[in-house]
């Protein structure tokens, strides 16, 4: 399957064989284009997709050694994302499919962040608890036995990635903020400042409080020494990571456990995906906290950031479940996990 992803600022194409087995995974990042603006500019992102998508697809097919005759279908991100960006992928993908008489399956970018785990553990089956954390989303989901994905918790305000980006700006770090905090935090003390652990009802998240707390901490100090900056970054990161994992724990091990058990089976499976899943502290802390009690899958960083390999994996799953899309479709910027 040829897979295409253009929902935000990565232009990506991949070739994924059934299994799923990854044959190629090409990503052209636009970070350089957006850095001067301190964030992703939708029009610039769409323009870059238009110019680079076909060359990226070309490279994905080449490096997989795949000829057109070997392609059985096309998978593409239908949403959610920036509409002008999605449009490019959705139309290029469907034009290719039409011209080569191939079936197309439009998939949810969010669901794909969960299905990315299949590229590393192909035998993974539901039920699976998924934590999808990125610049636009912080969702706790359940990959159900019937193949669908149900949202069981979401953020009430900022997404985790947004919280990292805003925190980075407060600390005077460059865009993209998540990796900048991750790097700086390695030199800091995560216990230097006790940031509040945000609590929202149920399994929901909330990050605006901790962001405000960081702002106050920075304002309290006349000037930040390098060490203070690193300590703040480490403490801020720790608060976000801890808040995320608290909710995961509450979902995995509800107490008291009802008569039906936790609903996750004898050994629960946890998948963490999305751009924020590249964060080293999140990966390490999740391993410490759940490594011995659950089967934990956090895909390699290049499969956590936006990529088309995961779209291919999702395409194969959706294909099995509901078949290809019967008619041409538009981009759906507000699409959820379905």
């Amino acid at each position: 399957m040829l897979a295409i992803e253009t929902s935000c600022d990565e232009t990506a194409a991949a070739v994924v064989a059934s299994g799923p087995r990854l044959l190629s995974n090409v990503i052209r990042s636009q970070d350089e284009l957006h850095a001067p603006f301190g964030g992703v500019v939708p029009e610039i992102a769409a323009r870059a997709h238009l110019q680079t998508l076909v060359p990226v697809i070309e490279r994905a097919l080449e490096s997989a050694g795949t000829r057109w005759e070997q392609v059985d279908g096309v998978a593409v991100t239908r949403g959610p994302g920036l509409v002008g960006c999605l449009l490019v992928g959705v139309n290029v993908a469907q034009a290719i499919a039409w011209a080569r008489k191939l079936p197309v399956v439009g998939v949810s970018h969010l669901a794909a962040h969960v299905f990315a785990a299949l590229l590393e553990e192909p035998e993974l089956r539901p039920p699976v608890l998924g934590l999808v954390v990125s610049g636009g989303h912080s969702d706790l989901v359940r990959w159900q036995e019937d193949g669908s994905i149900a949202v069981i918790g979401r953020t009430r305000d900022d997404a985790a990635g947004e919280a990292f980006d805003k925190g980075a700006r407060i600390l005077g770090l460059p865009f993209p903020g998540g990796p900048a905090i991750d790097r700086l935090a390695t030199a800091g003390d995560p216990r230097a400042v006790a940031f509040p652990r945000p609590r929202a009802p149920g399994l929901d998240f909330s990050f605006s409080g901790v962001k405000t707390a960081l702002l106050y901490e920075v304002r309290k100090r006349a000037a930040l020494s390098e060490q203070e900056r690193a300590d703040l970054a480490a403490s801020y990161q720790e608060a976000i990571v801890d808040a995320l994992l608290q909710r995961v724990e509450a979902a995995l091990f509800p107490s008291p456990v009802g008569e039906g058990g936790s609903g996750w089976g004898p050994s629960p499976t946890l998948v963490i995906g999305g751009g924020v899943a590249r964060n080293r502290r999140l990966r390490e802390a999740a391993q410490q906290r759940f490594g011995s009690q659950a089967r934990l899958v956090i895909p390699a960083p290049e499969l956590c950031t936006d990529n088309a390999a995961m779209i291919g994996a999702a395409g194969l799953i959706e294909w099995d479940r509901r078949g290809p899309d019967p008619a041409p479709f538009d981009a759906d910027p507000g699409l959820g996990f379905a």
Partner: protein, 215 residues
């Protein structure tokens, strides 16, 4: 069999041609609940009696035009060209608009750019965006002007209203697109995929802020 598509403006069109011969054409007015353009494309090619494998060239209007329309048209064209390894052409939208005049093409084409601005083209020059109140100084007194939307010249520059080609003397966009496509396929060089770029009636807001900040 070749395909040309113009989704840059409010009036949109697609034609399928064989050499200089028109096989099928479709005109429509952009609206919110349009079906995907690919649905029309598929039906049009069928109506022309062709199949995807028969395509040996594709052209798309590059603007100036709307963000969404151009992205859809150019993405479809690029995908088709790549998948079938056929030449890809981009065509300027305002010369197509000028060819909507019956008889000789108009010498001037104007497309509303919003924000009291207009995209203006005259033969031999690249299109340029200008405030509508500069039109009076720019329009030659002998011009034949094609305007989109029709009738707007009287509002933009009332002294020139008589220069606008009246609605009764307009052809469907597809007729103009056919002429432009024939000329393009016969005389123009195809593009590389990384040259696929749209011209929008207005620059992106963020880019404009940055340009102002740096000047």
């Amino acid at each position: 069999m070749r395909l040309a598509i113009d989704t840059s403006g409010a009036d949109q069109a697609m034609v399928v041609l064989d050499g200089r011969r028109l096989l099928a054409a479709e005109d429509w007015v952009r609206s919110r609940d349009d079906p995907p353009v690919l649905t029309r494309l598929d039906a049009l090619v069928k109506r022309a009696g062709g199949r995807p494998d028969d395509l040996d060239g594709v052209a798309a209007a590059r603007g100036p035009g709307s963000f969404t329309g151009l992205r859809v048209g150019l993405s479809l064209a690029a995908g088709l060209a790549y998948a079938r390894h056929i030449p890809l052409h981009l065509v300027d939208s305002l010369p197509i608009l000028a060819r909507r005049a019956t008889g000789e093409p108009a010498t001037i084409a104007l497309r509303d750019a919003g924000r009291a601005e207009v995209y203006a083209w005259r033969d031999g020059e690249p299109p340029r965006r200008m405030p509508t109140d500069e039109l009076a100084g720019w329009l030659p007194s002998s011009a034949r002007v094609m305007v989109e939307p029709a009738g707007r010249l009287a509002i933009w520059s009332s002294g020139h209203a008589h220069l606008e080609i009246p609605a009764a003397q307009r052809r469907p966009l597809s007729a103009a697109l056919l002429d432009s496509a024939i000329w393009t396929f016969e005389s123009q060089k195809p593009l590389r995929y990384d040259e696929v770029q749209a011209l929008y009636v207005q620059p992106a807001a963020a880019e404009e802020r940055r340009r102002k900040a740096s000047s």
